[in-house]
């Protein structure tokens, strides 16, 4: 017993050493999160060689606006993956929420529902769709113990079908300015959506790192049984993360609608954005096994995808081939992320 006490006395001296080491380890984690930064640097050089337009403010602002909507969905999916789940239906929520919001605020002549709510109420409805879908998914997966993959795959089709059915497959145009604002407005040269998405990335990143619940998300994703044994309210937090993910997907849907000034019939499900969502997260080092990855990596994954798309557009690649090339580039990026990230994505 005396030995034990001696060591306890000795600890204050060790304290500063522990903290210095902890800072160094934190720095290492930062480097891993930023592993894609050199790749992005290379893409910037390639882009500027291919087209003189590439490095102009207006082009980069446009890229920023294009990737903002995707980026918000990636934040949502990354949260869900980190806690050890998966949600394929975010792409349908991305479309359906915007469709419901728009449907409630435009007249029947434009295929609206006819109640013609204020655009602000429409946005509330859009967020409510996100909450509802996330809650249903969370309940089914967490409380109902259904397999997350197959359940959300089913939800993807159901929600995508509702999106088509409620407007007979029409796209909704002539949306009010307030509804379009988030996705289309600029603050000086910078798109508002880019600013908002950046704030969401930073905010969620800080939350995951410095908030008690953020840390619990990592603990639950890393070892759910241990998190439960440590007294965490695992079910509640998991359901909460599904809700948060769907709400973020809805916000992404609002941005997308504003950017194109319409809710396209195929927004989300029809476009199949979920592949890009997962690709961005995984390229950015978010482990599909849960418990690992962060917002810095996810953000760089999103930027990388946006730049690739833009360079292919500017490079005048045949439209019919763009899909194949984009997919190939994503697969290469996945392999590179695996190499750069070392064991991070290996297991």
């Amino acid at each position: 017993m005396t030995e034990v006490r001696e060591q306890a006395v000795a600890t204050p001296g060790l304290g500063s050493l522990f903290e210095k080491r902890s800072r160094r380890l934190a720095a290492a984690a930062f480097v891993r999160g930023a592993a894609l930064v050199p790749v992005i640097g290379v893409l910037l050089i390639v882009g500027s060689v291919i087209s003189p337009v590439f490095l102009t403010t207006s082009n980069l602002a446009q890229v920023g606006q294009e990737i903002s909507a995707l980026g918000v969905v990636v934040v949502g999916e990354a949260l869900i993956i980190i806690i050890g789940g998966m949600d394929l239906s975010l792409e349908s929520t991305f479309g359906l929420s915007a469709m419901v919001g728009a449907w409630l605020i435009i007249p029947t002549a434009n295929y609206g529902q006819g109640v013609v709510w204020s655009p602000y109420l429409g946005i509330v409805a859009l967020l409510a769709v996100g909450v509802a879908v996330g809650f249903v998914n969370g309940l089914a997966i967490v409380k109902g113990r259904l397999n997350g993959f197959i359940w959300t795959l089913g939800m993807t089709v159901v929600l995508g079908g509702i999106q088509d059915g409620m407007v007979n497959g029409q796209s909704l145009y002539n949306l009010p300015t307030a509804f379009n604002w988030l996705g289309s407005a600029y603050a000086g040269p910078i798109p508002v959506s880019l600013i908002v998405t950046t704030l969401i990335f930073v905010g969620v990143g800080l939350f995951l790192r410095y908030h008690a619940v953020g840390r619990e998300i990592y603990a639950i994703g890393g070892n759910r049984a241990a998190a439960r044994a440590a007294g965490m309210r695992v079910d509640r937090i998991r359901i909460g993360v599904y809700v948060a993910g769907s709400v973020l997907a809805a916000i992404g849907g609002l941005m997308e609608a504003g950017r194109v000034q319409a809710v396209a019939a195929g927004q989300g499900y029809g476009e199949g954005i979920i592949f890009n969502v997962f690709a961005a997260a995984v390229i950015g080092g978010v482990s599909l096994k849960g418990g690992r990855g962060g917002m810095l990596g996810a953000a760089s994954g999103v930027v990388l995808l946006g730049l690739v798309q833009n360079i292919l557009d500017l490079g005048g690649v045949n439209n019919y081939w763009i899909l194949a090339i984009t997919g190939g580039v994503i697969l290469v990026a996945l392999m590179m992320a695996r190499v750069i990230g070392g064991e991070v994505t290996a297991e």
Binding site: E3, V4, T11, P12, S22, L25, A26, H211, N223, A230
Partner: protein, 524 residues
């Protein structure tokens, strides 16, 4: 058990490590280790957690290559690492955690990766016949047609050994093979090992239980800090010599004088008569031992040990109190208030700290750092306004526990998965202590950890209850652990059979009570 018989002389060893060294980062896991294993002999490999046992095992079994030195099989150089089949033909490791595929039959598992057949078409009749023949030859009693998921831990071990023998392997590495076996299973395992060794198989036996090493090993190799500090015939050694060579001179007093506080000194401690935990007729179903109407009272500040045979419900009792396991009927009152079944968060909030049985499963989150794991139960308490919780706050909160438990890590942010087993367990224990519990439920807290860490953990638990008045419920089948308790309750088939109230507790009496026999010392 009679003294092991010398079967062979000094032939060329069937497997040999020559000057093997291995570094991980800045630590020397192994330094110029020489080890040799002869056919028909059993070599015990002992050492504290982190001494390099696991590294040596993984190098000997071809999972890692040494930085320096080499492995030889019967004098020939070892095959390249990626020739897994060649390695498996030469040496087989039976790990603590079963590696059989539960969905496949015994016969399939035995021939896994090499099913008898023709050009990829499996011949099931031959497969089963050969499995049966093998089982007969070695006198193993497992039906080859049964799915492995249905087997007991002991039977799965047999399947793994049989698989090794089927590949022609004549070197077996047994890594903590008794950790999950009950007493009779251990005895039968020893008989099988004796038979294997007598038939010329070489066995490397890794264990924290020194009495087992003395019982079945011819020779003992002791590793300390990555070096061989002793390699001698078991018959020439005493248990004390072995312990002091494992622990080293500096720590030696701990292993002798530092025996966990025995009953003698605990009796002076004041135990309140206030009932802190009251279980009444609790029924909880569990495949690993149900509770069938268990009643128990734990007083404030009291340390109660619970033990029994495998399947008697010892672990289930601990899990029910900690909220980790549902119960169907009966009541669990903590400080007069009922605990909701299956709610670990409610148990924690009520003041119950939990040290789970399986630390890999419930004890920690491997990817996260030590400090984060140790403060996992108190995150909301440590958090500032809006739930903000800086890593430095966790480190500050974790440091006293890291010190008290002598946690060895490269800093408190090192992921727990990278620590040795004993240190992982210290993190788990710290997690339970950090919540300032009024009752700690500890289930087999010393399983699979070395002697010195074991005593340190028990001492820390005893100290915590002495200084804070926390009660302790220690559910364990390790009788040594129970010696820190004021009282030991024996469970037989899910019910309290008897209890012992006078420490120190006699192992013989405890054993016969767990078997359901009323011993002389038992008080009803």
């Amino acid at each position: 058990m009679s003294a092991p018989i010398q079967v062979t002389g000094q032939d060329t060893p069937i497997i040999e490590a020559i000057g093997v060294s291995k570094r991980f980062g800045s630590t020397d896991a192994l330094r110029r280790v020489d080890a040799a294993l002869q056919s028909g002999r059993c070599l015990g490999l002992v050492g504290r957690n982190g001494a390099g046992k696991s590294t040596l095992v993984s190098i000997l079994s071809g999972l890692q290559s040494p930085d320096a030195g080499e492995i030889r099989f019967a004098g020939d150089p070892a095959p390249p690492l990626d020739d897994v089949r060649a390695w498996r033909r030469r040496i087989a490791t039976v790990f603590q955690h079963s590696m059989v595929v539960p969905q496949l039959t015994v016969a399939e598992n035995i021939f896994l990766g090499d099913l008898p057949g023709d050009r990829g078409i499996v011949n099931w009749r031959t497969t089963r016949a050969r499995a049966r023949k093998l089982m007969r030859e070695w006198d193993f009693d497992v039906d080859p047609a049964v799915e492995c998921g249905m087997l007991t831990v002991e039977q799965r071990q047999i399947v793994e050994i049989a698989g090794a023998l089927a590949r022609g392997t004549r070197v077996l590495l047994l890594d903590e093979p008794t950790a999950a076996l009950e007493r009779d299973g251990v005895r039968r395992l020893f008989e099988r090992v004796h038979a294997l060794v007598a038939a010329g198989v070489a066995v490397l036996y890794i264990s924290h239980h020194l009495e087992e090493v003395f019982e079945i090993c011819h020779d003992v190799l002791v590793l300390r800090d990555g070096e061989v500090v002793m390699n001698a015939p078991a018959a020439t050694l005493t248990e004390d010599e072995l312990v002091s060579s494992m622990v080293g001179d500096i720590d030696a007093p701990l292993s002798h004088a530092g025996k966990p506080e025995r009953g003698g000194s605990t009796r002076s401690r004041k135990t309140s008569t206030e009932a802190r935990l009251v279980l009444t007729d609790v029924v909880a179903e569990s495949p690993r031992g149900s509770l069938l109407g268990t009643s128990l009272v734990v007083h404030a500040g009291e340390r109660v040990g619970v033990t029994g045979l495998l399947g008697a419900g010892v672990a289930t009792l601990g899990r029910v109190i900690a909220g980790a396991h549902d119960y169907q009927s009966g009541t669990v009152l903590f400080e007069g208030r009922p605990l909701p079944p299956g709610r670990p968060d409610a148990a924690l909030a009520a003041g119950i700290g939990y040290i789970p049985e399986d630390r890999w499963l419930e004890g920690f989150v491997g990817e996260l750092g030590c400090a984060e794991n140790m403060t996992m139960s108190i995150a909301s308490r440590l958090a500032g306004p809006l739930g903000v919780l800086m890593p430095s706050a966790r480190i500050r909160a974790a440091q006293p526990f890291a010190g008290r438990l002598s946690l060895v890590s490269r800093g408190l942010n090192q992921p727990v998965a990278e620590l040795s087993g004993g240190n992982q367990q210290k993190v788990t224990v710290a997690r339970a202590m950090a919540s300032r519990p009024k009752l700690i439920v500890a289930i087999t807290p010393t399983r699979g950890i070395d002697v010195a860490s074991k005593e340190l953990l028990l001492a820390a638990l005893a100290e915590l209850s002495a200084t804070t008045g926390a009660s302790l419920l220690l559910a364990s089948d390790e009788f040594d652990d129970l010696q820190i308790c004021d009282r030991v309750v024996i469970l037989v088939r899910g019910q309290v059979f008897t209890e012992f109230t006078e420490p120190p507790f006699d192992d013989e009496e405890l054993i016969s009570a767990t078997e359901g026999l009323m011993a002389a010392g038992g008080h009803r």
